[in-house]
Every structure is written in C-alpha cells, then in structure tokens.
C-alpha cells in the first residue's frame, strides 16, 4: 500500500513537470519540415517519412536493424528451449490457410511497394508478412525452423544487405550510406525488401521465444 502512495506521488509530480514544460513550449520553434521537403526529390522516394527513415537518417535504421538482430540473438541465448506446434490437418485451419495466406503476402508486397509514395514501407510490410508466417507456424508448417542454416540466413538477410549497400559507397570513395543520387530509389527498394523479410522472420522467432527443439539443430 505504501509503495502505491509513493508511486502515485512521484508519477503525479512527473506529470506536473511535463505538463508545465509542454504548456510553456514556444510556438515559433524552427522545424525540419522545410529542410526535408527541399531535399525530398534527391532522396529517391516521395514519402518524406520513408525518405528520412531510409536516406537522411539511414544510420539510425541501420543500428535499429542491429538492435533487432541483437534482440533475437539474446532471446535465443537466454530463452528456454521451445517445442513447435505439431502438423495439424484440421480442415478448418486448412481452409483459413488457403484463404488468408496468399492475400496477406500480396498485401505485404503492396505495402512494401507503396512505401515510397504513401505511408508504408519495410517495417509495416514485415509485420503483415509475420502475420502470415504465424498462421503457418500454428498449423505446424513452419518448415523453415527445421533448417537452421536457411533460417539464420533469412533472419540476417536484412542486416546483410543493408550493411553491404551501406559499405558499398565507402568502397567507391564517398562516405558511408551515401547512395548514388540517381539509383537511390532502387537501392532503398532492395534494402526495404531484405529488411521486410528479416523483420518478419525475427518477429515470428521472438514470438516463439527460445530456440525450438528440432532434431538437426545442434545446440
């Protein structure tokens, strides 16, 4: 009971300070919108958020992909060994599978493609694709878990592609993540597809928790 009171006092105090700080906010603070719109056409994508995410502040995204991979490695290193659901031939599930998986995959592809112009992109597509993969997992058809090599490849494909494309300009003399202005759009697309794949597989692996019990996966 005592901790509740203390906790409430502290959080109220925090709320008070935050509110005070936010109310005092001056309205004329400069913003980066104008800067973004000015450089938008050079970024190779028309959606400003994707431009910021994958071109202007692409270093953040690179590190963020690193965090994603790290979370997975951590989970596998720490998490308890998990058993995958068995192969189920329940007709209802089969129907659901056939009905939903292809459209979801198509939807994911659409989101990926539209990201350049409209809100969307690798992360949203990845999440949707993960949904499809979960369906497969539940019905015991998560075959990729059984082939460890391929599974690790798919998990790290996003990071691999992004790193190689980021390092490429350095090899060509200019600095890190400095895509050639002309092909920027294509480079971003390649990165986004790879990122989508690895995000999807990572989310599913995180859902499973620890490393799955499988015959050929040596610990």
């Amino acid at each position: 009971m005592k901790t509740n009171i203390i906790a409430s006092i502290i959080s109220l105090a925090l709320f008070g300070t935050l509110a005070h700080a936010l109310i005092e906010l001056p309205t004329n603070t400069s913003r980066l919108t104008s800067l973004v719109t000015a450089n938008l056409d050079e970024s190779g994508v028309s959606n400003p958020v994707t431009a910021v995410l994958l071109n202007f502040r692409s270093y953040d995204t690179l590190l963020e992909m690193g965090v994603l991979l790290l979370a997975l490695i951590g989970a596998w290193a720490v998490g308890p060994r998990q058993t995958l659901p068995g192969h189920s031939d329940d007709t209802a599930m089969l129907i659901v599978l056939r009905l939903f998986v292809p459209p979801i995959i198509l939807g994911a592809a659409y989101f990926l493609w539209v990201g350049a112009k409209e809100p969307g992109g690798a992360f949203q597509a990845g999440a949707i694709l993960a949904g499809a993969l979960v369906l497969l997992l539940i019905t015991g058809r998560a075959t990729w878990f059984h082939r460890d090599g391929w599974h690790r490849f798919f998990l790290s494909i996003g990071m691999l592609v992004f790193l190689s494309l980021a390092a490429a300009p350095m090899a060509m003399g200019s600095s890190l993540l400095d895509y050639p202005r002309s092909q920027a759009k294509h480079w971003i697309l390649i990165i986004e597809t790879a990122a989508m794949l690895s995000i999807a597989f990572t989310l599913v692996a995180l859902l499973v928790g620890g490393r799955p019990h499988c015959k050929e996966i040596a610990d």
């Binding site: 203390i6 906790a7 502290i10 105090a13 925090l14 300070t17």
Partner: protein, 561 residues
C-alpha cells in the same frame, strides 16, 4: 735517533696492551699472550723515564704532568701485571680477566697521552668499561652488586663528560685539549667536568661505588683500580679545569668543604671496617678528599696554582704507589711460608703504611708538605681551617693504617693451608721499594731535598703520626678494660645501602608502566554487526531507489531556476 725511538715507544705504550688483548681472541696465539700482560706496561714505563716533555706523535703527547702520571701509573700496571701472571694462573675465567686487564691498561695510557678531546674521551671510556669487567670478575652476587653500581656511575660520569666536553668545545674549531681549555669560559662546562671526573675519582657524594668495587675485585685489579684509575679522575681535573685561569671563590670553598668532609668520612667509616681491602678503599677516599682541597684552593687563589700543581703531582704519585703496594700486600702476606717471610712481610707492610700516613722522611711527608706550602698563604679563615684540619686528616690516615695493619698482620700459615707461592713476593717487594724511592727520584727533580729535612718540617710531619699512634693505643687500652666489642661497622658503601632500599621500587614500577602488550590485540573485533548494518542499508537503498531518483530530479530542477 731517540726521537724516532720515542715515537715508537709512544705508539707501543697504547698499542701493545691493545694488541695483546686482541691476541687473546685468536685461540692459537692465546698461550703467548698469557705472560704478555706483564710486559705490556713496559714501553709506557720506559717512555715515562726517557721522554722529554712536549714530544708529539700519532695524536698523542707527553707533557710535564703527563710524564709523571704515566710514570707511576705504568709502574703500578707493570707490577700488578706481573702479580696477575702469577696469582691468576689457576683462576677459572683467566682469559676474560686478562683481556679486560689489558684493555683497561690501554685505556689508561691512552687518556694520559691523549692530545685532543676525542682520544682522551675514548681512552677514558675504554678504561671505564674494561675496568667494570675486572670488578665483575668473581661473578658472585656481591661482585654483581658492586659491578652494577660501578657501571652505573661510570656511564653517568661519561655522559656528564660528554656534555661537559660539548660545552667546552662549543666555540673553538680545533679539539686540542690545551687550546680548548684556554679558550672556553662556560661555567656549565666546568661543573659538568667536575661531576664527570668526580664520579671516576670517587669524590664525596659520588664515592659510594668505591668501597664496594675495590674489595670485590681480585687483588691486582683492586691495586690498579685504587692506585692508577682513581688518579685518572684527578688527571682529568688537572687537564680540563681552567685552574689558574678562572677565579671562582664559592666553587673553591665548596670543593674545600667537600674535600675535608670526604677525608673525615673516609676515616670514620674506614676504621670500623672488617675487610682490609675496604679499609684501604676508604683510605683512598680520604686521600682524594685531601686532593680536592688542593683544587678548591686553586679556584680560590688562581695564582697559587703552579705550586699546587707540582704538589698534587707528587701527592698523586706517592698515593698511587703506596696504595698499590698495600693492596698487593694482602695476598702474599696472608699465609707466609716461613717465619722469615713473616718478618719481611711486616717490614713490607709498615713502610708503605708509614709513607701513606706521612711519617717524616717518607714520600708521604714530602707530598703533604709540598701540598701545605701554597695553602699557608691563603687569605682569611680558610687558611686556618686548612692548617688545622689537614693534619687531622693525616692522623685519621694513621688510624686507618693501624686498623689495616691489625687486620692484615702477616701470620705464619698453618701447615695444612697452601702457602702463597714466592713468585708473588717479588712484584710486591718491588712495589714497596718503588713507594720508598719513587718520589725521591721523580724524574725532573721537582722535589728539592733540603726543604724537607729542616727540623720544623720534620716536626710538622711527625706530630700528626704520633698523635694518631697515641690515639690508637689509648683506644686499644680502653677497649680491653671495658670489654667493648668493636662497634658494629658502618655497612660498606654507606650511602648506597640507603639508595638501594629507596629507589628500586619506584624505578621498577615506572618501567612496568610502559606498554609492553601488543596494542593490536586491544582493537575489539567490531566487524560483525557493522556487516549486518551495512547490508541492511544497501537493502533500504534498493527498495527506495525511485524515491531517491525523484529527489534527484527535483533537486536538478530546483537548482536550475
């Protein structure tokens, strides 16, 4: 030629006894060194005879007073050395005795011949500590008590000297004795040196070790102790006190009073003693008292110092030789082999005793008269005081001599007791001869014969002796008629008995007070509850972390206003 000979002799005088002593350490050479202890004193003796005053070598010098002192000291060391060779042959710690004997001899010669202060002080200390070995030789409880006292006084004396020399040499750069004494004026130095040498000479209030130490030491050792080593104290006074330069009346008077008191106390205590050697020790005490009077006079009237000096030298020589002879007599005389030996022993005893008492025509008379001469012209009442009391002291000495003779009268040894072997008689005999002739043939002829032989002088030296004999006879008859037992003797070393009872309790308590325990054991082991308390505190912080962070946030915000 003889200059280089003298230089060799100078070196040999000190070096021979030293190397002899060290030789004992090497087992192989021990035997040869054995009879070396007798010959060790020879170079010094020869040096004293042939050296002209003022020759210097190896930091040593032979000056006027030095030569005479060296003469009679070397003679005494030579004779007692010879005596030791014979009498100590069967002793248990023979080697240790010889080593200490030789070391003291070396120290004694070194301090007489020293030119600068450190050498003198080195000799003095060497003699002090080595002679302690002689006193402790017998090793029984009495020797231990006497030895401890002797060492204590010796060390105290040396420390006093150390401080005295410091003050003396404060101003001057060089350390040569003559320059230093003439240049320094500090009164503190004089006091320190007086006390320092007083300890060694056995002046009153610093004398209580003397009656204990001399008797317990073996005969040759006590002969040298009483004869030569006490004189070192006197020699030190002569050398270092600015006599004839400084006029210090009240010091003079105190010295005179102390001297006379010492003389009288010596007699009073000595007469009642049972051991002949103690009697002799007390007699030395009184003789030193008389000499102190001379120093007192020197301070009163500095002009009279040269005369006093020569008187003191003669007196010291005479006393040294006589006292040596008397001490050496104790052993051979005890159980003589034949009647002829007995009468020879009587003669041998009588002559030095009379000389010591100052009988006419003896060396004692010469010395005493020489001493009285300058005192007579003193102004004021001190002259009277000295004129009357000095003869009284002489009678006292006679009384002591009679007491000594009564104790140490030579007796025919009963058939079963081993008689003292003849080899002892020769050195003793020579000692007696030297007392008789020594003073007369004092090198450099200070003494002019005619003055002594005038009838007035003869009478002046005779009446105290006669008075003494008279007193002794009357005392003897009274004792016989009233059957008095001889009154119980004052315990030897009177003052010390008192001291021993008073002081030790307090000293022992003081020493015990010093912390001897291991202080670390005091710190109680406090760690345990500290441990529990600290881990609880950590617990508190763990639970209250958010409160503390909130406080930090608040503090940051407030401080930014």
């Amino acid at each position: 030629m003889n200059d280089s000979l003298i230089r060799i002799l100078l070196f040999a005088a000190v070096a021979l006894p030293l190397f002899n002593a060290l030789a004992f350490a090497i087992p192989g050479v021990r035997l040869a060194a054995w009879n070396g202890s007798a010959l060790a004193a020879l170079p010094a003796l020869v040096l004293a005879l042939i050296a002209q005053p003022g020759t210097e070598a190896f930091g040593l010098v032979v000056d006027e007073t030095g030569r005479i002192f060296l003469g009679f000291t070397a003679a005494l060391w030579f004779l007692s050395g010879w005596f030791t060779v014979n009498c100590m042959r069967r002793e248990r710690h023979r080697v240790r005795f010889d080593v200490f004997f030789l070391l003291s001899m070396a120290g004694n010669f070194l301090l007489i011949l020293a030119r600068d202060i450190p050498t003198f002080y080195a000799g003095f200390a060497l003699m002090g500590f080595a002679s302690a070995g002689l006193v402790l030789h017998r090793g029984d409880s009495e020797a231990l008590r006497a030895g401890r006292l002797y060492i204590a006084l010796a060390v105290f004396g040396e420390v006093m000297l150390f401080v005295g020399f410091g003050h003396l040499a404060a101003g001057s750069a060089s350390l040569r004795i003559d320059e230093v004494v003439s240049s320094s004026t500090s009164k503190a130095a004089i006091m320190m040196l007086l006390i320092g040498f007083g300890c060694k000479a056995g002046a009153l209030s610093l004398h209580f070790w003397l009656p204990l130490a001399h008797p317990t030491a073996p005969v040759p050792a006590s002969a040298v102790l009483s004869g030569a080593m006490i004189k070192a104290g006197i020699f030190g006074w002569i050398r270092f006190l600015p006599l004839g330069l400084v006029e210090w009346p009240d010091l003079g008077i105190t010295l005179i009073v102390l001297g006379l008191l010492g003389a009288l106390l010596g007699v009073a205590a000595g007469v009642t003693q049972g051991n002949p050697k103690t009697v002799l020790a007390y007699s030395s005490l009184s003789q030193i008292g008389i000499m102190m009077v001379a120093f007192g006079v020197a301070f009163l009237d500095p002009a009279s110092w040269p005369a006093l000096l020569s008187a003191l030298i003669i007196y010291a020589a005479h006393h040294g030789l006589a006292k040596g002879a008397l001490f050496l007599a104790v052993l051979p005389v005890k159980n003589c082999r034949t009647r002829w030996h007995v009468c020879l022993g009587c003669l041998g005893l009588l002559l030095p005793a009379l000389a010591l008492a100052g009988a006419p025509f003896s060396s004692g008379a010469v010395a005493k008269l020489a001493l009285k001469e300058p005192i007579r012209y003193l102004p004021g009442f001190s002259a009277v005081l000295v004129g009357v009391l000095l003869p009284l002291a002489a009678t006292g000495t006679t009384l002591l001599m009679i007491r000594y003779l009564s104790l140490a009268w030579p007796k025919q040894a009963p058939s079963n007791v081993r008689t003292s072997d003849d080899s002892l008689w020769i050195p003793w005999g020579l000692a007696v001869l030297s007392t008789l002739l020594g003073v007369w043939f004092v090198p450099g002829g200070i003494v002019d014969l005619d003055k002594v032989t005038t009838p007035a002088k003869v009478w002046a030296s005779a009446w105290p002796v006669l008075a003494g004999i008279g007193l002794a006879l009357s005392w003897h008859r009274l004792k016989k008629s009233f059957h008095w037992k001889t009154p119980v003797g004052l315990p030897a070393g009177d003052v010390v008995v008192l001291l021993e009872r008073l002081v030790p309790k307090r000293i022992r308590k003081a020493i015990a007070f010093v912390p001897n325990k291991d202080p670390a054991s005091l710190a109680p082991r406090v760690r345990v509850d500290w441990l529990r308390m600290a881990s609880l505190a950590e617990q508190r912080v763990r639970e209250g972390i958010w409160v503390l962070l909130a406080v930090l946030l608040l503090a940051l915000l407030l401080s930014m206003r």
